[in-house]
Structure formats: structure tokens, C-alpha cells
């Protein structure tokens, strides 16, 4: 991994110029691409680490559920409370369930969950793999005949790719419950009517693209975090840096992928 700083022979650190930074950026993009290609090569070649995949899915998916659930509930609640005054001005309070559900399922749910996921899981993977790297545990695995890439990277990337869509689905459902509570804070609507109104304006073109893009969010968060951790250096300082850059780049990639997904969806539908 290359940093935006260079260490001189006497040990002092100075920042690189913009041209060098650009060079470093392109080298890093090339390295991540190579890392991604290696992932696709390794993922189809036996032996498959199913036990490690299940373990990682548990850690990454199930253990993130409480945080995602609380966030989802708050998103639904806040979105409804914020929407109410404006909708009431137009006499369109009955449209709140439809409006909030479309906002949550198309955009707010996937993006908010992915950003939180990048913060929690991305930093965790980055720090874990980086500490394994700097303490030479990865080298030890190689020596003992275990493929560390397959065991550590493939399982984690697979787990993030598979678990994020599930977390988003759960968060969407919980957000809608939050929205129901929000609607009932100042109004009164039955649970049945609320969900009828929620589904009355949803179509496959709202749900399917939103779920498909979460696979890409999960994959990008996983691959960046693993790359940063797997290629960490400079001792304990590198561990913190790997965790930090995993979160920053992972979150940024979520928004970039989201922008591309929105453009593609509007082209198709």
C-alpha cells in the first residue's frame, strides 16, 4: 500500500506534491483492481471456506443487526415527522405513507445502511486484517500451507456482499414500522391501511434496483476494507490508518455506486 507521505532516509516524513499524489492514486487504483481480480479468481477455485463464510456472515450480518435496526427505526420516524408539515400545507397527509415508503426503499434505506455498515464493518475488517498483517499472522498462514487470501479476504468480501442486502431489507421493514409510529404521533391510521398505502405506490422498479445496488455496496465495502487491511504496513500506525481509510473510501464508493445505479435505473425504467 502506498501512502500520501514519503519517509526520507533520516526518518522524517514530508507530504508528496500533487503530481506524486496523482501517481499514487493511480497506482492504488491499479492495485485495488488487481486485488479484485484475484478475488474473482480465488472465489471460484476450490477449496471453499464455508465454515469461515458462515462465521463471517454471523459477525458481519447478524451482529450489525441491532445498530441497523435502531438506525432504520429512526430514519422512518424522522422522515415522517419532517414530511408532515409540508404535506399538511398541501392537504396531502394521506400521501405520507406512500412518499415515505418510496424514499426509504429506493434511497434512504440502502444508502444509510451501507454508510453505517461501512463504518462498523469496514473499519473492523480493515483493523483486523491490518493487525494480522503487521503481526505477521498472514505470513504464518502462508507458511503453514493455508491460502490466507481465500480464508481471510474471500470469506469477508462474500459475507459483506451477501449480508448487506439482508440488512437493508430488515432496515427497510423496520423503517416502515418507524414511519407508522411517526404517522400516528399526530394523526391516526390503522396498521392495515398504512401498509396498504405503502404498497399501493410501490412497484418492482422501486424494489429490485434498490436491492441489486446493495450487493455492489457490500462488495465494494468488503473489497476496499480487505485491501486496506491486507496491505497494511508501518506497524500499529498502519492498523489505524487501514481502518480509517477503509471507512472513508468505502463510504465514498457507496455514494459513487449509488449515483451510477440511479442513472442506470432511470435509463432502464
Amino acid at each position: 500500500m502506498i501512502n500520501n507521505e514519503e519517509i526520507t532516509t533520516n526518518g522524517s516524513i514530508f507530504p508528496l506534491g500533487w503530481l506524486d499524489s496523482l501517481r499514487v492514486f493511480f497506482i492504488e487504483v491499479g492495485e485495488i483492481s488487481r486485488f479484485t481480480l484475484r478475488f474473482f479468481k480465488e472465489v471460484f477455485i476450490p477449496r471453499y471456506e464455508f465454515k469461515a463464510l458462515v462465521k463471517q456472515s454471523y459477525i458481519i450480518g447478524y451482529k450489525s443487526l441491532p445498530l441497523i435496526a435502531i438506525t432504520g427505526l429512526i430514519i422512518g420516524l424522522v422522515l415522517t415527522i419532517q414530511a408532515r408539515p409540508t404535506m399538511a400545507q398541501f392537504g396531502a397527509e394521506s400521501w405520507i405513507p406512500s412518499m415515505v415508503s418510496i424514499s426509504i426503499i429506493r434511497e434512504m434505506g440502502p444508502v444509510m445502511v451501507a454508510v453505517i455498515f461501512a463504518g462498523k464493518v469496514g473499519s473492523g475488517i480493515g483493523a483486523e486484517l491490518a493487525s494480522m498483517k503487521v503481526t505477521e499472522q498472514i505470513d504464518a498462514m502462508e507458511v503453514s500451507g493455508i491460502n490466507p487470501f481465500k480464508y481471510l479476504v474471500v470469506t469477508r468480501v462474500m459475507a459483506t456482499t451477501l449480508m448487506l442486502p439482508m440488512l437493508v431489507t430488515a432496515a427497510d421493514a423496520i423503517s416502515l414500522v418507524g414511519a407508522y409510529v411517526g404517522v400516528n404521533l399526530k394523526g391516526s391510521i390503522s396498521f392495515h391501511l398504512f401498509f396498504l398505502q405503502v404498497f399501493s405506490n410501490l412497484s418492482f422498479s422501486d424494489v429490485i434496483p434498490a436491492i441489486i445496488k446493495t450487493f455492489f455496496f457490500g462488495f465494494s465495502i468488503g473489497i476496499v476494507s480487505c485491501y486496506k487491511g491486507y496491505n497494511a504496513n508501518r506497524g500499529t500506525e498502519g492498523v489505524g490508518e487501514a481502518a480509517n481509510s477503509a471507512v472513508v473510501i468505502g463510504s465514498l464508493l457507496v455514494f459513487i455506486i449509488d449515483m451510477i445505479a440511479v442513472q442506470l435505473t432511470s435509463l432502464i425504467y
Partner: protein, 225 residues
């Protein structure tokens, strides 16, 4: 080992619940679009579909009974709209039902409303065509509003001219309001009429006592009774 089994159980539960949530969501959305229910096709030909889209609701007596399946331009002035209607409502829809394009509320989406026909007519069949009613478009309403506004402008211009004439004392009403000599003359005329009618009454009283007219007046009084 026990801990691993417990973790796997929790993970399995989480995966199953989210997959079920996803499937239920997909089912509800698909069900609304009549994907999982028995449907039959009914079509209607419109001159203007006014922004109706595939997937828009079809209502019969105010109940959602189906969706718009496809929209095809058939000629330069006609559009064929194919509707997927729930099989369960077929027995209520007669061959003389009419389709009209409306909107769901003031700001809502476009919908097709099927207006029931007479109950003695035959039940509609699959792939039948229903009569359509041309909807009142926003353009028509705006055109009528424009005509009304033009008329109102003409009327207000005429009223301004009339008011101007009145304030200048032109015409009968103008003189009545603005000319003081006219009012004085009118007052004098009324006094003259009052004096004339008083004199006429006295003459008539004198005539009623005259022997030449007494017979005639007695007969008149008798006829009135």
C-alpha cells in the same frame, strides 16, 4: 462447538426472516399488479389517454379491480388500452360498461374508472372491448375558463363606460343621479299629479250624486256584489 451452533442458529434465523420479508414485500407489490391472481383482458380505445401509464389502477364502482396492462397507439387519433381485470369481478362487469380516464384525487395518478352498465346486459368476456367516454381534459377546462374570463373582461369594460356616462350625467339614469333640475322637475310633476288626482276625486264624487249617472252607478254597484 455449542457456541458455534448457537451462532449458526441466530444467523439462520436472521437470513430466513429477511428473505421472508423480501418475498412478502415482492408478493404484495406483485399482487397489486395482478401478477399472482387470475385475470382477464378488457380493452378500450381512447382518443387521448391524458398521461395514463402501464400499471395504473383500474376501478369499478370505486374499487380497485385491476391495472393497465399495455398501451398501444393504433391510429393517428386512437390509443388502445388493455386492462388486466381480476377474474372475481367479471360477473359484475357488463358488456355495456363504459371506461373513462380520471385521476386519483386532485394531484393523484391517472386511473381508469369503469362505469357499470345496466344489470340486465350480458356479462363481459375475455378480450372484449368496452365503450369509452372522452374525459374532460385540463386543456378543455382551461379553454372554457379563458372564454369566461374574456366575457368577464368585456362586461367589465362595458360597465366602466356605463358608470362613466352616469357620472357625466348622460342618459336617463345619469340625469336621475347627477342632474338637480331634473330632480326638481320630477318633484314638481309629482306634486301636480297629486293635486290633479285630488281634483279628479272631487269631480267623481259630484258625478255620483248627479241624477243622470245615478242609475248607471247603482247597476254597477249591484253587478260588483
Amino acid at each position: 462447538m455449542k457456541k458455534t451452533t448457537g451462532n449458526n442458529l441466530r444467523l439462520g434465523l436472521f437470513v430466513t426472516v429477511t428473505v421472508i420479508l423480501f418475498i412478502v414485500g415482492i408478493y404484495y407489490i406483485g399482487d397489486r399488479q395482478q401478477l399472482f391472481s387470475h385475470t382477464f383482458h378488457v380493452s378500450g380505445v381512447f382518443k387521448n389517454i391524458d398521461g395514463l401509464q402501464v400499471g395504473s389502477n383500474v376501478r369499478y364502482s370505486g374499487i380497485n379491480v385491476g391495472v393497465v396492462g399495455s398501451i398501444q397507439q393504433t391510429t393517428d387519433s386512437s390509443v388502445r388500452v388493455d386492462m388486466l381485470i381480476n377474474e372475481g369481478t367479471r360477473k359484475f362487469i357488463k358488456t355495456d360498461a363504459c371506461a373513462i380516464i380520471g385521476s386519483d384525487g386532485l394531484m393523484g395518478n391517472k386511473i381508469i374508472s369503469l362505469i357499470p352498465g345496466i344489470s340486465s346486459a350480458k356479462t363481459i368476456c375475455n378480450h372484449d372491448e368496452v365503450k369509452t367516454i372522452r374525459p374532460i381534459s385540463m386543456d378543455d377546462i382551461m379553454l372554457k375558463v379563458k372564454t369566461t374570463a374574456d366575457n368577464a373582461a368585456d362586461i367589465s369594460a362595458d360597465l366602466a363606460v356605463i358608470m362613466d356616462n352616469i357620472t357625466q350625467g348622460k342618459g336617463t339614469i345619469g340625469k336621475l343621479f347627477m342632474d338637480s333640475s331634473f330632480a326638481t322637475n320630477l318633484d314638481k310633476t309629482l306634486i301636480n299629479i297629486k293635486q290633479g288626482s285630488g281634483g279628479f276625486k272631487r269631480n267623481m264624487d259630484a258625478a255620483s250624486h248627479n241624477f243622470l249617472l245615478r242609475g248607471f252607478l247603482k247597476k254597477k254597484h249591484k253587478d260588483d256584489k
